[in-house]
């Protein structure tokens, strides 16, 4: 399960200037959270940046010595042929996941926004894959991908196709983890887009129906344009969270076979906790932070724009 960043900004408040004791009390209430932020975000992130410039090994934990090496870790990471492979895998994994999660989620949101017997119950059942621990989903899909005994290949054989070596072939493993991640992400897209659909006034559809617009035309000229702000938010949030997916890949393929599903996240993990090259793991991690922050800021901008539009 992934937690979602609640958006954004309080409505502007007007009023009297705060009294001094008010401000002091406020800080007392904030103190635990501030302390936590400094100790558990500020300090580790600074340590992470420092670590990326040090030759940090298992020995460093005992001796406390980690010589400063400047940008050598970054040079080693960028020079590693695995870097471009991991970047490509990350891009393919993210783009493939988003495209289908969103497409399927939107289709389902439109379908379930019609009122019919059981629509609310069915829609809430679809949330289940999103609430499950990712390790559970990963284990289930790994079993379904099993080459000899998995149900996917049994189905393929049933319709006369050849079994696919899902997890042992370098060309099938990435599609397999993408498929798993699409399944996991559909509910999130469904629920958010469904909320967006409900905010579109029914009168618009009634007017369009009077003008003789078909269902495709209604979707094309009413639903799609009015849903655009929500679309932006869903895709941007999906992007930020898909880039850093870890559990799914670790359980389904472990980054293999032959690094075919190694993304920046799993590679960073392997560098730090497999090869004990903590400096290089930190360097890859900092690259990830940079990417995630850029898209995160874009998300905040689009979320703000949405709220501004809603207020207008």
């Amino acid at each position: 399960m992934t937690l979602v960043a609640p958006a954004v900004t309080a409505p502007p408040r007007t009023g009297r200037k705060p009294r001094r004791d008010n401000r002091f009390a406020a800080w007392l209430f904030l103190l635990p959270a501030l302390g936590y932020l400094v100790v558990f975000f500020g300090y580790p992130l600074a340590a992470n940046i420092a670590m990326s410039t040090q030759d940090y090994t298992v020995k460093s934990f005992y001796t406390g010595e980690a010589p400063f090496v400047g940008l050598a870790n970054y040079a080693a990471v960028f020079g590693n042929p695995l870097f471009s492979a991991a970047v490509l895998n990350t891009v393919l994994f993210t783009a493939g996941s988003l495209l289908f999660q969103f497409g399927i989620g939107l289709a389902l949101a439109v379908f379930f926004s019609g009122r019919f017997l059981g629509s609310a119950l069915l829609r809430s059942l679809l949330l289940l894959p999103w609430l499950l621990p990712l390790v559970v989903s990963g284990a289930v899909w790994r079993w379904m991908f099993d080459q000899d005994h998995g149900v996917l290949n049994a189905a393929l054989r049933l319709v006369g196709l050849d079994a696919v070596p899902w997890l042992s072939s370098t060309s099938w493993a990435l599609p397999a983890v993408v498929l798993t991640n699409i399944w996991i992400g559909i509910p999130f897209n469904l629920v958010i887009l469904h909320g967006g659909l409900r905010a579109i006034p029914a009168s618009l559809y009634e007017a369009a129906a009077l003008d003789g617009a078909g269902s495709w035309q209604r979707f094309r000229h009413i639903t799609w344009p009015l849903l655009r702000p929500v679309t932006g938010i869903v895709l941007m949030l999906g992007l930020v969270y898909t880039i850093k997916v870890f559990d799914v890949i670790m359980v389904v393929t472990g980054g293999g076979p032959a690094n075919a599903t190694q993304t920046l996240t799993t590679w960073s993990y392997r560098l730090s906790f497999g090869d004990f090259a903590f400096g290089q793991g930190a360097a890859v991690g900092n690259v990830l932070i940079l990417v995630a922050t850029v898209f995160g800021l874009l998300y905040l901008r689009s979320a703000k724009a949405t709220l501004a539009e809603a207020a207008a």
């Binding site: 059981g118 390790v135 079993w143 559909i186 949405t306």
Partner: protein, 267 residues
């Protein structure tokens, strides 16, 4: 009308098939799972998988409960007062703090794991419940603060100001007004914190060595990684680990959807 319902049921059946398959496999003998043609129903099933799962993963389930409850407690105790300050008391720098909370949520977990590992190594928090609770809280506290703040903004000022006029201090106002009226939001934040900590794998696998205890997610991961043919045991464990999510969906569906949507679009 009827046709839509039938089609809807069909969609749900297809999308939830993996979950059915998990339950199905958990009830079949290991040998039956390795036959070329899968059995689509667990006819003549066995509870062996669950016996194995309970025997090997029972302690891990308990450890996960401890960490998840600890995370809920720490998250709410730290987040609730902060949200009150951000929502109801004017703080200079409040908007900046909200922005920081949004941004730290974008930091990939692997970066936190990497950094916390070295910090915890120095503090002796590797292999400790406290360490995992504190690590999981890095994800749940920013989330809880933002969720609670969004709710507490809508608590009418008249309510808190009346309490102030009656001579209650800020703390009394917080405890006797804000906390009771925010009950639903607190439940939502708590549920999400529980689910996150319960499902966490990254911190569990990096910040413990498995020497003193192990969490259920790591248990499943090791189980799968053993290349064992014991899929009914693995799937039974997966079913047990999925129970909190299923219970939640049934019991607290309203809160779950509220948390999910308040999260992404609304203020």
């Amino acid at each position: 009308m009827k046709a839509r319902t039938v089609f809807g049921v069909l969609i749900v059946a297809v999308l939830l098939f993996p979950l059915y398959w998990m339950v199905n496999a958990s009830l079949q003998p290991s040998g039956a799972l390795l036959r070329p043609d899968p059995a689509f129903f667990p006819v003549g099933g066995t509870l062996d998988g669950y016996r194995k799962a309970w025997a090997t993963q029972g302690p891990n389930l308990l450890s996960s409960v401890v960490v998840a409850l600890g995370t809920v407690a720490v998250s709410l105790v730290i987040a609730a007062p902060a949200s009150y300050a951000l929502a109801q008391l004017k703080v200079r720098g409040g908007p900046v703090l909200v922005f920081v909370l949004l941004i730290v949520q974008m930091i990939p977990g692997i970066v936190m794991a990497n950094a916390l590992y070295t910090v915890f190594g120095n503090l002796g928090l590797i292999d400790s419940y406290l360490g995992l609770v504190l690590a999981d809280s890095t994800a749940t506290i920013p989330f809880a603060v933002l969720l609670l703040r969004a709710f507490m903004i809508s608590v009418p000022k008249e309510l808190t100001e009346a309490s102030r006029v009656d001579g209650a201090g800020y703390w009394r106002t917080f405890v006797s007004i804000i906390v009771p009226v925010s009950r639903n939001a607190l439940v939502t934040a708590g549920l999400f914190s529980f689910l996150f900590a319960w499902a966490d794998f990254l911190f569990a696998v990096t910040l413990t060595t498995g020497q003193s205890f192990e969490l259920i997610t790591v248990g499943i991961y090791r189980f799968v990684g053993n290349q064992s043919a014991d899929w009914n045991g693995i799937m039974a464990t997966a079913v047990l680990a999925a129970i909190p999510a299923a219970v939640l969906l049934v019991v607290a569906q309203r809160y779950v959807v509220a948390g999910l949507t308040s999260g992404a679009v609304k203020d």
